[in-house]
């Protein structure tokens, strides 16, 4: 590489505690642009907490979060989304009262402007915008190979496809940073391979992906860099090869027995 890639997300000294338990004990890292950056660690290491702080669901006790230099701390969730962060959820948060297409059209909310009054009067502008939202949603569905499911009710889909609709919905927002919270959980092997391909296609569109995942073969094959968390602290950071060779990671996470064998 001729010049170092610029960092999109920069987190410094992030702290978050729940009633005396330090969920995040001063975490710092930065993610370069247009990469797949995975966050791994044992259960309770603080991965989902990190996501929730990033999205403004929790307010951190200390530290800073910057997206492209813009401080996120203290902003409400919908403002953070407007700055270019989208996410999926560990436990599905689909809109089960809507069709697949409508779910994904909600994803495009920020790219349109129609307010309640103009919508009520159905001005020509509204009609054009609806058409545009539908096209954006269809593009996202296409990328996620869900185009043939557009008109189905989101509640009628099998679990694996529901998870994919969440990704499509997030993509319809055209985010700069996409947070995927355990996208492979509950998927079978075929679906996991399809997911890997999908994540790679997403990176190819220039979106930075932040991936929290337990499925190690997926993480190691898809990520450009990894961050290992343990008890709310950063244990290691580096390329998949670095991480797999790191004795601290092996001891804490990948299997304690290995370090004795080496």
């Amino acid at each position: 590489m001729t010049k170092p890639p610029s960092s999109l997300l920069k987190i410094e000294g992030l702290e978050q505690s729940f009633g005396g338990v330090m969920a995040l004990a001063g975490i710092s890292f930065q993610t370069p642009e247009s990469l797949i950056y995975a966050i791994i660690g044992p259960n309770g290491a603080g991965k989902t907490t990190l996501f929730n702080v990033l999205c403004g669901f929790y307010q951190p006790a200390a530290g800073s979060l910057r997206l492209n230099g813009q401080e996120l701390r203290g902003l409400p969730t919908h403002r953070i989304a407007a700055l270019g962060i989208a996410r999926t959820f560990q436990n599905l948060q689909l809109f089960f009262n809507m069709t697949v297409l409508e779910n994904v059209m909600v994803g495009g909310h920020l790219r349109a402007k129609t307010g309640l009054l103009t919508a009520a009067l159905r001005l020509p502008r509204v009609r054009r915008e609806e058409q545009q939202l539908r096209e954006w949603a269809k593009e996202a569905l296409e990328l996620c190979e869900l185009a043939d499911r557009a008109e189905q009710s989101a509640s009628a889909l099998p679990y694996g496809l529901m998870k994919r609709v969440e990704i499509a919905r997030a993509l319809a927002a055209k985010p700069r940073l996409l947070l995927l919270d355990e996208p492979a959980a509950g998927l079978n092997d075929t679906e996991t391979i399809a997911l890997r391909d999908l994540i790679q296609r997403i990176r190819a569109t220039g979106i930075t992906v932040l991936l929290v995942e337990h499925h190690m073969p997926l993480v190691m094959s898809v990520s450009d860099r990894l961050l290992v968390l343990d008890y709310g602290s950063v244990l290691a950071e580096g390329t998949p090869a670095d991480i797999q060779a790191d004795p601290r990671v092996i001891a804490a996470y990948l299997g304690g027995a290995v370090q004795y064998a080496v």
Partner: protein, 331 residues
């Protein structure tokens, strides 16, 4: 295509008085049903789509009615101007009330809106100097629409049906838009809605105001049509009945709410004969509907019809013929 249901609804509403001229049931009960439809369609935006309950909606109905009544009788305001003032009062009250109250969920929200409804009712009864107290306000002048004075049951039927169709059209437009989907998203998952960039507090406030405006609109029309109003028309039972209309017809469906409103209006008329047993039959019917059609009359029945259409042998045979014809013609 989007408005097929709307045109059907409009056609029925317009044809009824033509087919049955000078019929008391059509004009008077129809007008009453029309007002209920406006109220239910507005409340459905809040309850059915955004998933927020209001047990005090009669308060906004009353605000529209009393503002119109007071301004036209005491200050001789023109009807339309008074109506606009009524909309303003209800809209501003809803907006002030929405921010703190819509932070609440479920039972708490129900309790808070219930309290609001009771307070407004108490004001109607106690502020005698303005509202006439329990005796109400009489002598409300007929509505004057740019020189045309609305008089008689037939004309009122026309005006109320036009107003009803307007609100149905507005509601359909809202639902099938970016903001409508945002409302449904709030009901589906507030977390995810925020993550999609929806300011959920703002969306809830807006829909609360819109449903209050619908109610106040109905209230103003009601005051002029009746020429007399009293607090009895805006008490807790009315609020509960409005909720019943939405739930009975089917939540999250504009026509569901409209059908619920019409069904309940007709039911009341039909049960007048039974006097003492009215509430008993009323309650019994509601229980039966909720047990057998929990999604509501309209939504439940239309789903049933669709299921029959999809499965019955005649329909299947017909589809087979059509599809073979289509495939052979395309070759």
């Amino acid at each position: 295509m989007r408005l097929v249901g709307f045109y059907l609804f409009a056609a029925v509403a317009v044809l009824l008085p033509i087919l049955f001229p000078d019929n008391y049931f059509v004009t008077v009960v129809g007008a009453s049903a029309g007002l209920h439809v406006i109220l239910a369609v507005g409340l459905n935006l809040l309850m059915g789509y955004a998933g927020q309950i209001s047990l005090g909606h009669a308060a906004f109905f009353g605000m529209g009615a009393y503002t119109s009544a007071i301004l036209t009788t005491r200050f001789a305001w023109p009807g339309l101007l008074a109506m606009a003032a009524g909309l303003l009062v209800a809209g501003v009250m809803a907006w002030l009330f929405a921010r703190p109250i819509l932070r609440l969920r479920g039972h708490y929200l129900a309790m808070a809106t219930l309290g609001f409804g009771i307070i407004v009712h108490v004001i109607m009864v106690q502020a005698m100097h303005w509202t006439g107290g329990p005796d109400g306000l009489a002598g409300i002048p007929p509505l004057n629409l740019l020189g045309w004075t609305v008089e008689g049951d037939q004309q009122w039927y026309g005006v109320i049906i036009a107003a009803m169709l307007l609100t149905i059209w507005l509601s359909l437009n809202i639902v099938d838009s970016r903001m409508g989907r945002a409302l449904r998203a709030v009901r589906g998952s507030e977390f995810a809605a925020q993550m999609m960039g929806i300011d959920t507090a703002r969306a809830k406030t807006q829909v609360f105001v819109v449903s209050a405006l619908f109610a106040a609109f109905a209230g103003s029309l009601f005051a002029h049509q009746q020429a007399f109003i009293s607090p009895d028309s805006f008490n807790l039972m009315i609020s509960v009945e409005l909720v019943t209309m939405v739930v009975l017809g089917g939540m999250a469906s504009t026509f569901g709410a409209a059908c619920g409103a019409i069904a309940l209006t007709l039911l009341h008329q039909g049960l007048v004969v039974f006097e003492d047993y009215e509430m008993l039959i009323h309650g019994g019917l509601l229980m039966v509907v909720m047990i057998f059609l929990p999604q509501g009359l309209f939504v439940g029945l239309s789903q049933g019809v669709r299921r029959v259409m999809n499965n019955s042998s005649i329909v299947l045979r017909y589809r087979e013929i059509v599809s073979t014809k289509l495939s052979s013609s395309s070759r």
